[in-house]
Symmetry: D2
């Protein structure tokens, strides 16, 4: 009954890197979290502990810092591609690199005068990307965001669903719809994207998501999800597929009748668990297959 | 060796309440987390389990929801006072009430047309208040915020400190200074504050904190803390004391020399733990004693 | 440029359910967290919001509670299979069900007498399972655990790795090796597993993991991972594949030389981030393909 | 309107330190988290940024590591006292030191043979202590624990409480009582406690807490809290006061009647928020005043 090694990868996760650019008194910062994962000739290290094919995770951390110094950190997708290609191109034993970067957003604190080096964290949402690159020269870029928390206080209904012996839910024609959007979108190509375009692409996809969420009169969270994906794909031609994981953050109308009060959709209890969880992909019908897994 | 009951309180913590106000198609939301804690004639419940003096925590939850329906949720300080007074005034066995409220901030999603019911969570910082009220009619209001994360990419030095046999730190004339501000400020009075003033007070105190953080050339985080407190107290006459807990979120300059690179304060490693922790109070020299503990 | 719906699923996540069984004065508890996700005829709900094919997530929550009452909660794998089959078998529009359950462990508090209804949470690790079932009658069962935190204070080396221009790590012949094991193992079959066997299987796999971790003199965390997987597969014939995600929780030897002290592998700094992350699968060479994704 | 500095302290928080003791092939580990906070002549550093009185937090981190090397880490209370005294005794500008330590528990992984260096994290609860020491030679030691999660599946009632217009809760004669115990207990003296006694004291106090929780037929969580405190004080003479914060982790009986099922206290929903929160102190009637705040 022989036992064999299956898919595997290793790397340094969550290197927290802050890059400052000084343009006279005006500073710019990039605050990112870099994770790299490599795979290749890794039979030996698993079976015998021989590390001859292993580029240590410590070196991957160093490389992230060194590249940030040497090249700066522009759009996270570009920085991830730079790192991924470096690992595959420089090490024959590394056949595939995956680089994931999270970026945290900062806003300037308005200050009079020309000293511009003060910042306040802006929002809780996180911009993300996952880049794959292999020694056959194939690359994929998936951009994304998470923890974009949105709420419609009306414009959401839910009815007409299956009823079985375990049904107690009452249909509603007016509810709060709230979710924390996690979305990842795959770029059709890599080479066509200049550095500026990843930044613009992110801003515009995010705007599409917010607008479609706000503008969709929703009969189900799935409908909203699809509308958000469709909006992105019909607006942004560089995107060929988008995937969502959206919890239905339930807001339950509180029964105030025992206290002699009505509740005309005004007072809600925001529940933690359980929550609905809606996951789905929207894609072009001619989207090419992804060369690599998204994860 | 008799054993006695010491200080005690009980209540319902973290009632997550969302209040919607519909002004035609324009909606407003208040998203809060209410915690109440009561004390009074509580010997029996501790010693024998007799609950005759106990207003159940479930009822406290109901009261928060019912009051939100009946009175709306305006400024959190006002809503907390309303609840605290209710408990003490309506129940002879309750001698003291403490109400703590957190508020989460939302921003409108810009949508064309007159449907205005879509929101996106705005920032990770949380507005807070703690209100005390007792049966002698005394009240205190402490407003606050937490998780206001700020960073100066220059304008911070650290040197001239004690050196002992365990010192290895090198002095620096230019470092990143970053912290997550937790601040609580005590209002001189309660009655003088109309509803609108708590809202304006919060906005202005927050602005003072940000500006003083940004404008202070810092020789130590303590100096920055004091400057922030002083700015609030000299700007906002309704505040008589302010307390801070500010972690020094270390950003260490990465040594890139092994890679043949310089690092002119450009590439930093953002560390998690350990971190410095600076706590301090700034107050008017004629600030009245607080009637109640802040906690 | 038509846009289409891709893979999707929806369900109720994290229904926190506690089931008590009273055997006279001796109580038994099961503390679980149930998440179900369904897929099937879901075009309509995404494209038009028509919910006719949707079994609401609220009903899924109810079903979990009702089944716990009706059938009890035995081994989590069996309870998950029961739910998954129910959804697919009872609803023609549901073609596939995925049920994930986490179980939290409790230990009895020793008490004299025959009242046995007091428990204390035992450990931070969590037992898990993910079950898939579809309308073709195929089922897969993946058992697992996470947050099993283990540490070897010696018996770990790391050297002989690739050195490049970004290498600064020094080789070591004696280091702490610590990780938080997340492991998932796929059962070869479903029908052969009686209820008791999932419980025994879990206990024994966990024991294999701990023993292999402890007994492996490690030249790399990958080697340890493989040894753990191999131990499971050679010991437990019901398992055909096992996958790991194991962070290398770095413990750095502190340089005490500046203080005139040696440090003979005695004083370590336990770092948070970044951390190594080792992921890998070990399987039988004749393991059948998994019918469904593991996630 | 002069502004002045109020109470303040500063230090290094959360130095994660692991100390290994090698007794031949048998290793012992101590896994702790050390936080120190100092106060004294700190006017200058706040008002002008002058650091001449400041022992840097970086040095405090170094000191924790150096002391772990030099003296080992025995009982956390002793190690905290050692550090606190060092800061006050060695630095004239430091008038007061507070040292807080958390300890994480590990259990040996049973392995055959004489290699005994493998451990698995044991439980999620955390042992704690807070020590104060000042230049007048006064010291206090508060030991504690947190996240000790316990549950009684019966033996808990709740009725006879106040009913007002906001009451909807039904009285119950049989409910689940569950909580996560946070407790801190103050030692009557410091000097009398030999190293071994803090360890034994902790073990015995923890046992008292568990047993009193399990053995108390509870009419309210307050009654249970008091019984736990009383048990400690009547059993352990070295303790003069104990304080608790105990959330009432609600387990709500699920209404299965809509599904044609009864629910004889068998199926519960474990809620997250809101939760009851019971805080209280139990002390000897002749307990001396605490020299310092507990926090």
């Amino acid at each position: 009954m022989p036992v064999i090694l299956g898919p595997n990868r290793y790397g340094k996760a969550e290197t927290r890197l802050v890059r400052v650019v000084r343009d006279g008194g005006v500073h710019h910062i990039k605050d990112v979290n870099v994770s790299s994962a490599l795979s290749g000739d890794m039979e030996d290290v698993h079976l015998t502990g021989g590390n001859a094919a292993v580029l240590p995770t410590d070196t991957q951390k160093n490389t992230a810092f060194a590249f940030a110094g040497k090249f700066g950190v522009g759009q996270i997708e570009d920085f991830a591609l730079l790192l991924a290609r470096h690992y595959v191109d420089s090490q024959p034993t590394i056949h595939h690199a995956r680089v994931e970067i999270e970026e945290y957003s900062w806003r300037r604190i308005p200050v009079s005068g020309d000293r511009q080096h003060s910042f306040v964290r802006d929002g809780q949402e996180v911009r993300t990307c996952i880049v794959h690159h292999d020694r056959d020269g194939r690359s994929t870029v998936v951009s994304g965001l998470r923890d974009l928390v949105v709420l419609n206080s009306t414009g959401s209904e839910f009815h007409g669903y299956i009823e079985d012996e375990y049904t107690t839910l009452q249909p509603t024609a007016d509810r709060i719809l709230a979710t924390a959007v996690s979305a990842q979108w795959r770029h059709s190509g890599v080479s066509s994207s200049s550095s500026s375009s990843f930044g613009e692409s992110y801003t515009e996809v995010r705007r599409c998501l917010l607008e479609a969420f706000a503008e969709t009169h929703s009969l189900s969270l799935q409908q909203t999800l699809y509308a958000m994906g469709e909006r992105v794909l019909t607006t942004r031609e560089e995107v060929c597929e988008i995937r969502f994981a959206m919890p239905n953050k339930h807001h339950f109308l509180v029964d105030l009748a025992p206290f002699g009060l009505g509740n005309d959709n005004e007072v809600y209890y925001a529940a933690d668990r359980p929550y609905g969880l809606i996951e789905g992909a929207v894609l072009r019908d001619d989207a090419p297959d992804a060369a690599f897994a998204w994860e």
